[in-house]
């Protein structure tokens, strides 16, 4: 029995952290947030070189064929670095969907290119989880029409993976006729979001996705990636709060010697520490397809989102007025955690789903 990360997983995490601290320091993040997209593209190239795009692609299609626990490690490190790169949609949800439900042609067409970092697929499952603005897509005779909001990794993508309300998954080429792309500007400038308006756009069904378990697995994976991203970002916010409290003096003392501040930090640590174990545990349950794997994915996303919210607030408070400034940049982590919380279902929505999974409605 061993509960925790392997040496290989730990060194993967270290490599990503090192890459990001060398290539994506706060100044770079600020430049990306201010619109310098070329800098984000460089970081994106860097993570492809690290092999992250091919992590979830099976070896037979040119990837590394690793599992959810590895992906969780990656996502947590990217959250810690507020990395302005595609990941959860393009490199985890999309390859899992195509691997599970694509036919041989679809797999051959997409998987090697995802692994090689040549193609990015944006993922739009928001309407399956809970449609806003009356959005939603319909599939009829090889064409999709309708709207989809808040695609993950959708900006400048080569293709889109979309779901209709019954959970079937479709791929459309982003250069197809009838697509209107509208950029959605969220608080989190380290990641992008788009809305698609589709008018009879050519689409191919992933044939295996008529089995509802496919979209469920894709959703579980996406939710775990967002949870891990939040855990990574929250750990940085806690570490920064503690570090600041050991520098800043008031009333002739380090503020970290006041119990009011110590208890804020202790509460953050007490809530966050189990979340590391929780995301590993939930990922391992996906990897070994345990009976409670779905429940764990749901509860992990809901719980980690709540903890992240508390930490993003408390850490900002520990920093006092500085925490509120753009200069310090703490808000990039705050906003990242804020976006993760709402994507693929806010805690209330997901807990409702977790209740149904356990038959509480029967």
């Amino acid at each position: 029995m061993y509960f925790g990360l392997s040496e290989e997983q730990k060194s993967l995490e270290e490599n990503i952290s090192k890459f990001l601290s060398d290539n994506a320091p706060l100044d770079t993040i600020k430049a990306v947030a201010d619109g310098e997209e070329a800098k984000a593209d460089d970081i994106h190239k860097g993570i492809i070189e690290l092999g992250l795009s091919g992590l979830m692609v099976p070896e037979s299609y040119g990837g590394l064929g690793l599992n959810m626990l590895f992906a969780t490690v990656v996502s947590s490190a990217l959250g810690a670095g507020t990395a302005p790169v595609p990941y959860a949609g393009a490199y985890v949800m999309a390859p899992i969907a195509i691997t599970l439900a694509g036919d041989e042609d679809q797999k051959n067409e997409w998987l090697p290119k995802i692994a090689g970092g040549e193609k990015v697929i944006g993922v739009g499952l928001s309407e399956f989880v809970g449609a806003r603005e009356d959005a939603g897509i319909e599939f009829d005779k090889g064409k999709v029409s309708g709207r989809s909001l808040f695609l993950i990794d959708g900006k400048n993508a080569d293709a889109y993976l979309l779901a209709n309300k019954s959970g079937e998954l479709f791929l459309i080429d982003s250069s197809s006729k009838g697509i209107t792309v509208t950029e959605l500007v969220t608080v989190d400038k380290t990641r992008t979001s788009i809305e698609l308006t589709l008018d009879k756009v050519d689409a191919t069904l992933l044939p295996g996705s008529s089995d509802l378990s496919v979209i469920e697995k894709v959703l579980d994976a996406g939710r775990l990636m967002l949870s891990a991203d939040t855990v990574g970002a929250s750990q940085v916010m806690l570490d920064k709060a503690v570090a600041y409290s050991l520098e800043r003096k008031q009333f002739g003392r380090l503020i970290g010697s006041f119990q009011a501040v110590k208890h804020m930090c202790a509460e953050m640590a007490a809530e966050l520490e189990p979340c590391h174990s929780m995301i590993w545990h939930a990922a391992h349950s996906q990897d070994s397809s345990t009976e409670d794997a779905r429940l764990m994915a749901c509860q992990t996303k809901a719980h980690v989102s709540e903890v992240g919210k508390q930490i993003s607030k408390t850490s900002t408070e520990v920093h006092g007025g500085m925490g509120f400034t753009d200069e310090l940049g703490l808000h990039y982590w705050f906003k990242r955690i804020g976006l993760n919380r709402q994507l693929l279902g806010s805690p209330e929505l997901i807990r409702e789903e977790a209740g149904k999974l356990q038959g509480f409605d029967q």
Binding site: A269, T300, E306
Partner: protein, 395 residues
């Protein structure tokens, strides 16, 4: 990541399951120290299901320390209604202390009867003016010839009304700094000069006592460690207490009962679990509990694998576990509404009033065993490296 215990443990698990089957009918009803209880306790020791790694010569089973076997025993016993091994402060705190710091004579004299449940211990730590600041305790111990003479007052002493012995902290070196002036003594409770007064709690029970100690004389050799080392000796056992106060696997059983309750209780004919806000609160608690269970697995893993650090994971167990349990019990009361306030033997009472009783009991545990505010000091100072509050002069 590997959550399997491994095939070598399958046989052991079947062995435990067989034992439990063979003893399914056993029920213990007599008072503490009753012969039937002592015999059951001895049977558990003989089979290695209790005191497993305590050496044979001191009355234990004499097995190797094997955390996974302990876990399997706990898991299988938890599933069955057969009596569990006795707990208590003698078994959980004193025995580990004597094993690591006691003299050979002390080990011989006390461990066996304590394990068998023949000798009950109480803990003489807190004083009316020394709670969170335990090291400021003032009960005096003076050596007079070959006897310690003890004078002072202790409080929150659990099971003092039943105990034959007390492990007690007293100030023996009044001129030393406060942490270095304390000794850890073993005091027979039938000594002259001990006055016990029960403290009635908010639950209506009286689990605690005050002890008034006037010229209590005990043999000089009844000291564990050296003079002035009592603080270190006591700290070795406080760790044992904290870990045992809030096991998430026990909370899981309680959560299952809460789910059943919420499916049974109705408001205007609608099940409580069908009301979205109640259901959301239930699921929030479940999410928090799942996080704590994962944390517990990490701690377990750190105990059987070298080089895995779980320091922070351990420090938070008492704080998180007691708060969650208190909230879980509170949700059950809310789910019952007015019915949730019923107590003692009222008509319409649910589950013998256990939800109210446990709701209050866990508030006690939030305070006891080092208050949760003290836990936050410990987490911030020892795990996060934050400084202590500056000392007040003279304290």
């Amino acid at each position: 990541m590997d959550l399997e215990y491994g095939p070598e443990y399958d046989d052991f698990r079947s062995e435990v399951i067989n034992f439990i089957k063979e003893n399914e009918g056993v029920k213990l009803s007599g008072p503490m120290r009753d012969e039937s209880r002592v015999n059951w306790q001895q049977k558990l020791i003989d089979n290695g299901y209790f005191a497993r790694s305590v050496p044979k010569e001191y009355g234990g089973y004499g097995g190797h320390m094997d955390i996974i076997k302990l876990r399997i025993i706990a898991e299988e016993f938890a599933k069955s209604p057969i009596p569990k091994a006795m707990g208590g402060q003698g078994i959980q705190m004193l025995v580990p202390t004597l094993l690591s710091l006691g003299t050979e004579e002390q080990k011989q004299a006390y461990i066996r009867p304590t394990l068998r449940g023949e000798m009950i211990w109480c803990q003489g730590y807190s004083e009316p003016n020394s709670g969170s600041d335990l090291a400021s305790l003032q009960t005096k111990g003076e050596l007079d010839g070959d006897e310690w003479v003890i004078n002072g007052q202790k409080i929150w002493t659990s099971t003092a009304q039943l105990a034959q012995m007390c492990f007690i902290l007293v100030r023996t070196e009044p001129d030393a700094p406060k942490h270095q002036g304390i000794s850890y003594l073993l005091m027979p409770m039938d000594s002259e000069g001990i006055d016990r007064r029960p403290i009635k709690q908010m639950t209506g029970d009286s689990d605690f006592n005050e002890l008034f100690l006037t010229d209590v004389r005990i043999p000089a050799e009844n000291i564990v460690g050296s003079r002035g080392e009592g603080w270190q000796v006591a700290n070795a056992t406080l760790g044992h207490e904290r870990g045992s106060l809030a096991d998430p696997n026990v909370t899981q059983n309680r959560l299952n009962s809460l789910i059943d309750l919420m499916k049974t209780e109705t408001i205007d004919g609608q099940r409580v679990i069908d009301k979205p806000i109640f259901r959301d609160r239930l699921l929030s608690i479940q999410g928090r509990l799942m996080a704590q269970q994962s944390n517990a697995l990490r701690i377990l893993s750190s105990q059987i694998n070298d080089g895995q650090d779980a320091t922070l994971a351990k420090f938070i167990v008492k704080l998180q576990g007691t708060e969650l349990r208190h909230e879980l019990e509170g949700l059950a009361i809310d789910a019952m509404g007015e019915l949730g306030t019923l107590y003692e033997d009222s008509p319409h009472l649910r589950d013998h009033g256990a939800w109210q009783q446990t709701y209050m009991y866990y508030l006690g545990l939030i305070i006891g065993g080092g208050t949760n505010q003290i836990q936050k000091n410990i987490i911030s100072e020892r795990a996060l490296g934050m400084p202590k509050e500056p000392k007040v002069q003279g304290a």
